[in-house]
């Protein structure tokens, strides 16, 4: 059985995470004005990935969950990356 013990995150921590998320949103918007060719999408996805990590960890409380759940959620992201990479085996060589 999983650990169901409650946990409370300090509002200061949540506020800091919110500020970081807003900053990263600003980065996502600004990056479109710089010509980085194919890397524009890569960087945008990287920023989105960091934002997802923060939301999952702090707002969805994954940080306080047991190791098994953390591994499962990580596997989901690994799977997503693999699917995108495999799709690009088609697009890169077509």
């Amino acid at each position: 059985m999983s650990n169901n013990s409650p946990h409370i995150t300090d509002y200061k921590v949540l506020a800091k995470v919110l500020l970081v998320l807003m900053f990263l949103t600003f980065v996502t918007i600004e990056i479109t004005s710089i010509d980085l060719a194919a890397f524009t999408v890569t960087i945008a996805l990287l920023v989105a990935g960091i934002k997802s990590f923060l939301v999952l960890s702090y707002f969805m409380h994954l940080k306080y969950e047991n190791l098994l759940l953390k591994i499962l959620v990580t596997m989901v992201f690994v799977l997503f990356i693999i699917i995108v990479l495999i799709t690009f085996i088609d697009y890169s060589f077509r």
Partner: protein, 532 residues
């Protein structure tokens, strides 16, 4: 448990009476029944449409319907059978009924969400049915809604895809519910590796439902956006890429095959040890192979697209991955057969259905290797070989496993026993009819009979006649089976708590179980299949 005080979930008097006691119930067993009756009705409609197609194909040229009607009927048959029967079938019916019981819980984690899933399922199904009767005519794209044709056809594609989108949400919510249930509600002392194997398969399936279904949801929304607003996602005339649709569609729809087949494998894994009175062979291998199938199954979608214009490198890569996914499937088959070896086999109808499943699934699986290999796939692509392979996996696999599960758990669900002679007759009729219907399609498929064609060359007629005869025998088997089970549910002999001498938790409960399943916390054995 004291049987004199026992009130089954069927007799339980709650806040509501009559039909409201069912459609407002959050009891997982009642919700399972709601799904079962709805799915059975859809299945019969789909089967009748299939039979109509068979009568049309009994001779070349027009026999009982026009070509456009035929196109509509095969699309409707596909949408009903795939989205409304096969994908939800085993998870929603037996998963809902038995997952909580098998892990020693009183219900799923989110009972209200569970009922909401059923309402979404019914709403999506109603839309799918409605799409067939609109003025613009039933969608004629096939169940795959391939672009760019689906972006331009004048038929009711938007309603049909919206229906599939809503049905997908129902599937996601069920998957989410099952994952949380397995993590949070296992009985005290029940670790992952002493959980029965049907919950293992449901757990693996639930992850696929949760992760893959949103992809098709987004894809269908993109299709709707393209039709309504002319956004060029898929149509080359608008700068889109039709192969992208195929990628996105199959990223969901291939794992969806495992949404159908993994619970089927779980049902068979419950049945075989019970009727062999033997501990299941290779428990951990079966459990982990479910996860392996779910994981690798995500990466093989491209084998549906060898002729789509995909790059050569991608084709051989998908071919390699496809051969890898055969390994965990084969592990299960070897383990089932090894479980039977030197077992005390009791040939009851549920076991006969399970044997039929293994035979048919093996044919489906081995012909799948022909399709996984690029060179041979190109030869038989879009021929009736695909139709045969697909039905051997889906109907021979999921369908027969559903019938097996129904005959296995029927006494527990209804508290009544069915007639064994009629059940045995239906197994034989279904098995013979099925093979007569689909096997000839392999042969004429190799010879070049295209799938989804209204007309054909006279040289293929011998097989079409055999298939139609097989279809009629299959339908007779279905009618006998349904008659037998309906009669048993109404007036069958009372079933004991454990008619098959099973060892898992459901057989420790009275038949049918009470509303909360367990009056006391169940005792969990170290191995759920301990027959010694």
């Amino acid at each position: 448990m004291n049987n004199t005080e026992h009130v089954s979930f069927l007799e339980h008097q709650g806040k509501h009476k009559g039909i409201l006691a069912w459609i407002l119930s959050t009891d997982h067993k009642r919700i399972a029944f709601l799904y079962m009756y709805a799915i059975a009705a859809f299945f019969l409609v789909g089967a009748i449409l299939g039979l109509l197609m068979r009568f049309e194909l009994i001779a070349p040229g027009e026999t009982i319907m026009k070509p456009q009607t035929y196109n509509g009927i095969f699309t409707v048959h596909g949408i009903i059978m795939i989205f409304m029967v096969v994908i939800p079938g085993l998870s929603a019916v037996f998963g809902n009924f038995f997952l909580p019981i098998l892990i020693g819980a009183k219900d799923v984690s989110f009972p209200k969400l569970n009922l909401f899933s059923w309402y979404l399922f019914m709403f999506g199904s109603a839309l799918a049915v409605a799409s067939q009767f609109l003025k613009s005519g039933p969608p004629d794209t096939g169940w795959t809604f391939y672009a760019p044709y689906s972006t331009t056809t004048g038929t009711s594609v938007i309603i049909a895809t919206t229906a599939a989108f809503i049905l997908g949400f129902s599937s996601i919510l069920t998957g989410l519910n099952f994952i949380v249930t397995v993590h949070r509600l296992r009985a005290p002392g029940m670790k992952f590796f002493n959980m029965p194997l049907f919950p293992w398969s449901l757990y693996a399936t639930a992850w696929i439902q949760l992760l893959a279904t949103p992809v098709v949801g987004i894809t269908l929304l993109m299709l709707i956006a393209e039709r309504l607003f002319g956004i060029g996602f898929f149509n080359p005339d608008l700068g889109g890429d039709p192969v992208l649709f195929q990628h996105l569609f199959w990223i969901y729809s291939h794992p969806a095959v495992y949404i159908m087949i993994l619970p089927a494998m779980g049902v068979i894994t419950e049945i075989i040890p019970t009727f062999c009175q033997k501990k299941v062979y290779g428990y951990k291998a079966i459990a982990l192979s479910s996860l392996a199938i779910a994981g690798v199954g995500f990466l093989v979608w491209g084998h549906h697209m060898y002729t789509s214009g995909m790059s050569e490198q991608a084709r051989w890569f998908f071919s390699l991955l496809t051969f890898i996914v055969a390994v965990p499937s084969a592990i299960k088959v070897f383990n089932w057969i090894s479980t039977m070896y030197k077992g005390s086999i009791d040939m009851k109808p549920a076991f006969l259905f399970a044997l039929a499943f293994i035979f048919l699934f093996m044919i489906g699986g081995l012909t799948g290797l022909i399709l996984g290999s690029v060179a041979t796939d190109i030869q038989v692509h879009d021929t009736s070989f695909i139709v045969a392979h697909f039905h051997y996996i889906i109907f021979g696999g999921m369908g027969f496993a559903f019938f097996a599960g129904l005959h296995y758990w029927f006494p527990k669900m209804y508290g009544r026993m069915y007639n064994f002679k009629r059940a045995n007759f239906s197994v034989i009729a279904l098995f013979v009819g099925f093979n007569l219907l689909y096997f000839p399609q392999f042969i004429i498929g190799v010879q070049g009979m295209p799938r989804r064609y209204f007309d054909y060359f006279p040289r293929f007629q011998w097989a079409q006649i055999l298939s139609t005869i097989g279809g009629v025998i299959l339908f007779i088997g279905l009618i006998v089976m349904i008659y037998n089970l309906v009669k048993a549910a109404r007036s069958g002999e009372k079933a004991p708590a454990n008619p098959w001498n099973g060892s898992t938790l459901e057989w420790q409960l009275p038949s049918p179980p009470s509303i909360e399943n367990f009056d006391e916390d169940p005792v969990v054995k170290e191995n759920p299949y301990d027959y010694n």
